[in-house]
Amino acid sequence: MISPLEILKARILIVDDQETNVSLLEDMLSSAGYVSVESTMNPHEVCELHRKNRYSLILLDLQMPGMDGFQVLEGLKAIEAEGYPPVLVQTAQPNHKVRALKAGAKDFISKPFDLVEVLLRVRNMIEVRLLHQDAVIRTEQAEVRSEQSESANLAKSQFLANMSHELRTPLNAIIGFAEFLGDGKPGPLNPKQKEYLGDILNSGKHLLQLINDVLDLSKVEAGKMKLNLESFTLVQAVEEVCAVAKPMAQKKSIRVTVRIPSEINLVTLDQQKFKQILYNLISNGIKFTDDGGEVEISAAPIERDQFKLSVRDTGIGIQQEDIKRLFREFEQLEAGTARRYEGTGLGLALTRKLVELHGGVIGVESEVGKGSTFSVILPFTTGEKTT
């Protein structure tokens, strides 16, 4: 907002060839409290003065010898090419009012002057001019900020690309040699050696997963994650993901079942990301379910264009107050259990982002000790979209 004091301090230029008019206006303005009023009787110097002083208001007489007000107006418009020429014309001829407004003047005052009208119009115009300047400055600042944030984003993704390379290079050797040695290829191992090499291998793979998740999350956040849409059979994709998760489930004697009705057939989504979503939910279900439990994947259509995919487990369940923290980064629940369950704490945050990228939603229902059901609602056909 513009304060009354700012308005009174605004620079004003009076342009008139009649000395009596100049002093009359000067008196009116100074009586109202304006402190920065200048005047000229030479129309030829108006543009030069404005270029130098950038008045907040120019009170311009239209009829002057040598150069009339309309010519001065053209000159001022050229100076204020993208701005707001703060010109208030003074005229005795009614037909000049519209002509001046059409020529770019912002308002007029009629001669003979009416004190109240003059002061109101002067104040209004200065206010608009100052607000306009304010808006210009704010827009410029916003542009600068958005450029800065764009280049920061670019720097961030470049940094991530480099980081990814730098982190994978040593991991390549750690994982590779651990696997090669653990397979006994360079020579036979005793059981302890084999076990410890297995530990190195698992830790290396865990670290790699963490790097991948961080990269994926940052890509979503930087708006660099794009969807590669394709049509595929839902059941087949689910079965493929289950096959990958099977060894993990077998180790804990967990039964994994799939129930997908035949009415859900083709879907158009990013298949790889859909599988990532599903794998995260299934592997979570297995991870947080004790030996001998059960994980069930089911699907059902909702309305005409959406379906709901649920992953139900008979695991430890989630406290009601913890549910809202669940989908945030690095929030593996139950810090008290000393992280009994290995994980990056990024899986669900990433899963949520991938679901939202498809225009879907994710939610969970849970009862402590009984199990949890994670559900995602996805469109059968996702539109082309990047975030």
């Binding site: 990814s164 390379h165 290079t169 390549n172 050797a173 590779g176 397979d183 290396g204």
Partner: protein, 141 residues
């Protein structure tokens, strides 16, 4: 599979050692280079059947070397597989554009590497025999 001559190009000595050890274990003849210039010399003296090419190298990078080899009639039939930690999207396309016949990302799977190498060699054989057949057809006409 039948042992083949493989040149491994990687500037990281540990990774060079790992890839070589894995392939050597599977019976292949391995040559090593830690930069593109050394690789060029080895290719001249011991023409390999396949090159596992790291992309980020000091001096000339792996894609530039690949383009050179594929532009030269003496070396254009060598199968080149990019082996890289550049796992960002679009990198596979860059390798393909440079003329690589395949693409493997690090970390490598030591249990699958030999199988992948065999696959790339076989694909190349099929491609070549098809091209030969086409050539013959043309000559016949």
């Amino acid at each position: 599979m039948k042992p083949v001559r493989i040149l491994v190009v990687d500037d990281n000595p540990t990774n060079l050692k790992l890839v070589s050890a894995v392939l050597e274990f599977d019976g292949h003849n391995i040559f090593q280079a830690n930069d593109a210039e050394t690789a060029q010399q080895i290719i001249k003296m011991n023409r390999p059947d396949l090159i596992l090419m790291d992309i980020a190298l000091p001096g000339m990078d792996g894609l530039t070397l690949t383009r050179q080899l594929k532009a030269d009639a003496e070396t254009d039939s060598i199968v080149i597989v990019a082996l890289t930690a550049f796992a960002m999207k679009g990198d596979d396309q860059k390798a393909c554009d440079a003329g690589c016949d395949g693409y493997i990302t690090k970390p490598i799977d030591t249990r699958k590497l030999s199988g992948l190498v065999a696959e790339f060699l076989e694909q190349n054989l099929i491609k070549k025999s098809r091209e030969d057949a086409r050539e013959k057809q043309k000559e016949g006409k």
